[in-house]
Every structure is written in structure tokens, then in C-alpha cells.
């Protein structure tokens, strides 16, 4: 609660800056529109204004800036335009839209609720695959020197491959083995999330100190017992820290996977917005994505707290 005031002030400041920024950002289109409507703009003609500075134009035409916050295809839509779009494409669309859940019984493909669910599905599947793979790989790396030596460096290199740029190709390759729909997105999502999990889990499985390991040796415990009774529980905090990074990465992967295949999801929505110059739509989808990411991370954190409590951690 003590954070409330600072957070609020920062948000208010950002909003104020945002409104202010709309004016120079949109000035050229606003003036062109005003000119089409008959106003006299200084200097005349969009072509002559092309290379002039935005601020210069603002100060020369202070009387004609009325449209700055209500442009149709704004370079930077005003906050309330984005808010209106958010409201429109969630509540209003679902309650009153022709395809909304109220009229059609299923979520509307024009609503961010629907697209959020689509993305979420791919995120979850990708995350499960990625995290599972990450954990398995980590177990292998911790238990086999050969794997540690040979796989670990390449796991790092794998992250420098611009997978996001390859998404369309990967999708096509997966088509060729009969995977389409959710799976290609999930694969990209898994690729992005496995690495943080491997790194965190390797760290975690190696976190027991020599003394804790020696203790089990004095009991003559087997490798499996050491794993289940010591390494695994000790790795839990590390695991959750990396799962949080991993699930956020999964979401990015799912969204990227949705860009090339225009079949729904927040990624498709963002691209659709870009395709038709509807910047509010991009911004609205972006905010939903960020909120989704925050929720997912919070959710993992919630499970973490539950697990920690079950494992007797200090509250």
C-alpha cells in the first residue's frame, strides 16, 4: 500500500508525457487533415512540410492542433483512444457485438478476450514442453560430465540464433511433418523458454554445498536418493525464478509464432493492427499482452509461494 502513491505518480507522469508527446508526434497528419478541411497551414502543402521538424510545425500552427488526440490513424494514439479501444474490443464486443458471447454463445474473434485465450493456450503448451525439456536437460547436465561439457556451450550459442526471425520457416517445416495450428507456436514458445529453465535448474541442482552432499555420502545414499532427497528440493527456489523468466519468454514466443500465420491470437491482432494502420489496436493488444505476462508471472509466483509454504519456508 505504501507503494501506491509513488506508483500512481509515475503512472500519472507517464500519461501526461504521453498526451504531450501526441502533439508533435501526430502534428504532420493533423495539419494535413486540417489543410484538407480548408485551414491555412504554415507552410502550405504536405510535401513542403515533409522534412520540417515536428516541434517547429507545432509552434507555427498552434491553432490547428485540435485533432492531435482524436486522430483515426495516429502515429501515437492518445491514452484515452487506447483505453476506448481496449474497452471496445473486450467488454463491448462481447456483450453487444454480433459475434460476442452474449449473442453467439462463443467468444468473439474480434475481442481481445478470445485472442488472449488463443495466445494463452499456445503459451501454456509451449511452456510445458520448454520447461519439461529444460528440466530434463538440466538433470542430464548435472549427472553427466559429457553432457555438461558438450551440450552446455551449444545451449548458449542456441540463444544467439535469431529464432524469432526464423519463426515463419519453422512453421513451414512443421507443416511438412503435419503439425499445424497450435503446435508450431508452441514449439517456438518452447525454444525460447527452455534456456532460462536449463540455466536456473543446473544452478539449482548444483546448489547443495559439499557438506550437504557429504552428509548423504556418510549415509551411503545412492545417486537417485541424492537427487530426490537433496538436489531436487534444493533446486526449487532456482527453478521457480527461472520458470518466471521462462513463462514470459513463452508468451513472447507464442506471439511471434502468431505473426506469420494470421489465425488469431494477440500476435495476429498486433499485425492486423499494423496492416490496417490501426495503431490503437496494436497498443491495445500490447497492453493485454503485458497484462497477460504480468499475470502469468504472478501466477508462477503464487505457485512458488504455495510450494515454499508446503516446504516449510519462512513466511
Amino acid at each position: 500500500m505504501t507503494r501506491f502513491v509513488p506508483v500512481l505518480s509515475v503512472i500519472v507522469t507517464i500519461l501526461a508525457l504521453w498526451y504531450a508527446a501526441c502533439i508533435p508526434m501526430n502534428v504532420k497528419e493533423v495539419l494535413t487533415q486540417a489543410e484538407r478541411d480548408g485551414a491555412v497551414i504554415n507552410p502550405e502543402g504536405a510535401q513542403t512540410r515533409r522534412d520540417l521538424s515536428h516541434f517547429g510545425l507545432v509552434f507555427r500552427n498552434l491553432d490547428h492542433l485540435g485533432g492531435s488526440w482524436s486522430q483515426d490513424r495516429a502515429r501515437l494514439p492518445a491514452p484515452h483512444q487506447v483505453a476506448a479501444e481496449l474497452w471496445q474490443s473486450t467488454w463491448v464486443e462481447e456483450t453487444t457485438g454480433r459475434r460476442g458471447i452474449v449473442k453467439s454463445g462463443s467468444l468473439s474473434n474480434r475481442s481481445l478476450v478470445y485472442h488472449g485465450m488463443v495466445t494463452l493456450g499456445a503459451t501454456f503448451v509451449g511452456f510445458l514442453i520448454g520447461a519439461g525439456l529444460g528440466v530434463l536437460l538440466a538433470v542430464g547436465i548435472v549427472h553427466s560430465r559429457t553432457m555438461d561439457r558438450s551440450v552446455m556451450p551449444w545451449a548458449i550459442v542456441s540463444q544467439t540464433v535469431p529464432i524469432l526471425a526464423l519463426a515463419p520457416m519453422i512453421i513451414v517445416v512443421l507443416y511438412s511433418i503435419g503439425l499445424e495450428g497450435l503446435m508450431p507456436k508452441a514449439v517456438i514458445s518452447a525454444y525460447l523458454s527452455f534456456f532460462p529453465v536449463v540455466v536456473g535448474m543446473v544452478k539449482g541442482l548444483r546448489s547443495p554445498d559439499a557438506m550437504q552432499l557429504d552428509l548423504l555420502r556418510t549415509y551411503n545414499a545412492s545417486g537417485a536418493e541424492t537427487f530426490w532427497k537433496l538436489r531436487l528440493p534444493a533446486s526449487v527456489p532456482y527453478l521457480f525464478a527461472s520458470l518466471k523468466i521462462g513463462i514470459a519468454a513463452s508468451l513472447v514466443g507464442a506471439i511471434v509464432g502468431e505473426l506469420p500465420v494470421q489465425r488469431g491470437g494477440l500476435g495476429a491482432r498486433m499485425l492486423g493492427g499494423s496492416y490496417y494502420g490501426q495503431t490503437e489496436q496494436i497498443w491495445a493488444a500490447l497492453f493485454v499482452a503485458a497484462a497477460l505476462a504480468a499475470t502469468l508471472v504472478w501466477f508462477v509466483g503464487w505457485i512458488e509461494r504455495r510450494t515454499a509454504r508446503a516446504m516449510g519456508a519462512r513466511p
Binding site: D214, R217, T218, Y219, A221, V236, G312, A313
Partner: protein
């Protein structure tokens, strides 16, 4: 008296980047059944290393070492001893009871037997009622007692203790020393105990082994004339102070060479 641990000209050399480190050199020592032997010596003189050799956690590079007539590794596999480390080192995700149960699970005791032994050892270290608590809910001294309970639970004849009370304050330490002595008298276990504190060594032991470093070796072995029954006040008595003096001289000798 039966010899439980027997070391003959034991050597141990670590190969490090800066060349070999002679952690132990020509160590000869016999520990008999029911002995309470303390090891004292400056940092790095090989006390821990010697204990780890006995426990089969480190392998000597020369000489012979037998535990109950077996090699240390065989003894480890036969679960011949309990080991108490300097820090309590309880697993934070297990309750006190769960921590004590850990070796029992690994050694395959039955569920009923586990429960019985946990209750019993908790009683022994005066922690009955704390079974369901987590380590952080206990004070440092109580945690240390729990870690001793963990080493006692499977009732090995030998207890190896590496500075178990190093992290505690003097008063708590005094209390635990008293309790450890009582336990030892009651159970007749053989105990090898590493410490940095001269009064602690003198107060607890039937024999005090003074070591010196570079290379780690035994410089003095002092048999204590103190009776088995030792109130804490014994530390202000002449005989106690004399032994302490001798230990201190031995230690200083080790440093000056």
C-alpha cells in the same frame, strides 16, 4: 580395550594448482571403544581431513586406516558412524522430525521403526515437541542439537563431530557440552571431536590430540585425568587449568616451528 579406529603412519597429500599440500603426514593413532577423543590444532592442520578419512569421505595417499577392522569405505557402507558437521546443515524444507528421519529413510528402516527412533532421539536431545517445526523456527543451539540427533538416530557406535559448536555463543555452548557429555556417558559411544576451543577440548575428552600444520601431524596426545562426571565448575580447578596450559603450550609450539 577394543580398538575401534586405528591409523598407522597415515599420509594424505592434496594435489593443487600451487603444488602438493601435505594435509596429513605420518599420523599414528588408536581410538578405543568408549573413548571421547578431541582433536585440536591451528587452522589447516588437518583435523577435518583426518575425520573425513575416518568417514571414508577422503582417501589417504599412504599408511593404513581401519574402522571396526574394516576399511573406512566398507565401514561407511556398513553405516558404522554418524557424522556431525560444523554447521547444523539441516535441510530447510524438512521439519526437524523429517531431518532426523532422513538417514532412516535412506537406510531403509520401516515406517514404524522410523517414527519410533525419531521420537526417541528427539527425547534424547531434549527436543520433544519440536518434531513438526522447521529449522528456522529453532534457535542455533536447538538446530545443532537436531543435527546431533540426526547423527544419533541410526544408532551407529561411532560419532564423528567436526566443530559442532563452533558457531554458538559461550553460554549455549556450555550447556550443549554438558549434554553431550551426559549422552556419551549414557550410551558409551566412541566419539571423535574436532574443536578450536581449549576449554571445550579439556572439558569433554578422555584424550586430547594436539595437531600442528604443514605438514599436518600429531604433536601431543594428552590423557585426561578428569573423572567421567564433570560439572562445569571443574574448569576453574587446578587440574583442569594445568591440562589447558599443556594444550596451549602444545598448540603454540605447533605455530612457532
Amino acid at each position: 580395550m577394543k580398538t575401534v579406529i586405528s591409523a598407522k603412519s597415515l599420509d594424505l597429500t592434496f594435489q593443487t594448482n600451487d603444488g602438493p599440500v601435505h594435509a596429513l603426514k605420518g599420523v599414528d593413532l588408536d581410538i578405543h571403544k568408549g573413548d571421547f577423543v578431541s582433536f585440536i590444532g591451528p587452522s589447516g592442520c588437518g583435523k577435518t581431513t583426518f575425520l573425513r578419512c575416518i568417514a571414508g569421505l577422503e582417501h589417504p595417499t599412504g599408511g593404513t586406516l581401519s574402522v571396526n577392522g574394516m576399511t573406512p569405505d566398507e565401514a561407511r557402507r556398513a553405516r558404522a558412524y554418524g557424522y556431525v558437521f560444523q554447521a547444523a546443515g539441516l535441510y530447510p524444507w524438512r521439519t526437524i522430525g523429517g531431518n532426523i528421519r532422513l538417514p532412516l529413510e535412506i537406510m531403509g528402516f520401516s515406517k514404524a521403526e522410523q517414527t519410533r527412533r525419531v521420537a526417541e532421539t528427539l527425547e534424547l536431545v531434549e527436543l520433544a515437541g519440536f518434531e513438526k517445526k522447521y529449522p528456522w523456527q529453532l534457535s542455533g543451539g536447538m538446530q545443532q542439537r537436531a543435527s546431533i540427533a540426526r547423527a544419533l538416530a541410526f544408532d551407529a557406535d561411532i560419532l564423528l563431530m567436526d566443530e559442532p559448536f563452533g558457531a554458538l555463543d559461550e553460554i549455549v555452548r556450555d550447556r550443549l557440552n554438558e549434554e553431550l557429555l551426559a549422552l556419551w556417558r549414557r550410551t558409551g559411544k566412541t566419539i571423535a571431536f574436532v574443536t578450536h576451543s581449549i576449554p571445550e577440548a579439556v572439558y569433554l575428552s578422555t584424550r586430547i590430540v594436539v595437531m600442528s600444520p604443514r605438514p599436518g601431524r600429531i604433536t601431543d596426545v594428552i590423557d585426561s585425568p578428569l573423572p567421567a562426571e564433570r560439572p562445569l565448575d571443574i574448569r576453574d580447578e587446578k587440574v583442569f587449568i594445568d591440562i589447558a596450559h599443556r594444550v596451549r603450550e602444545g598448540l603454540r609450539g605447533g605455530y612457532q616451528e
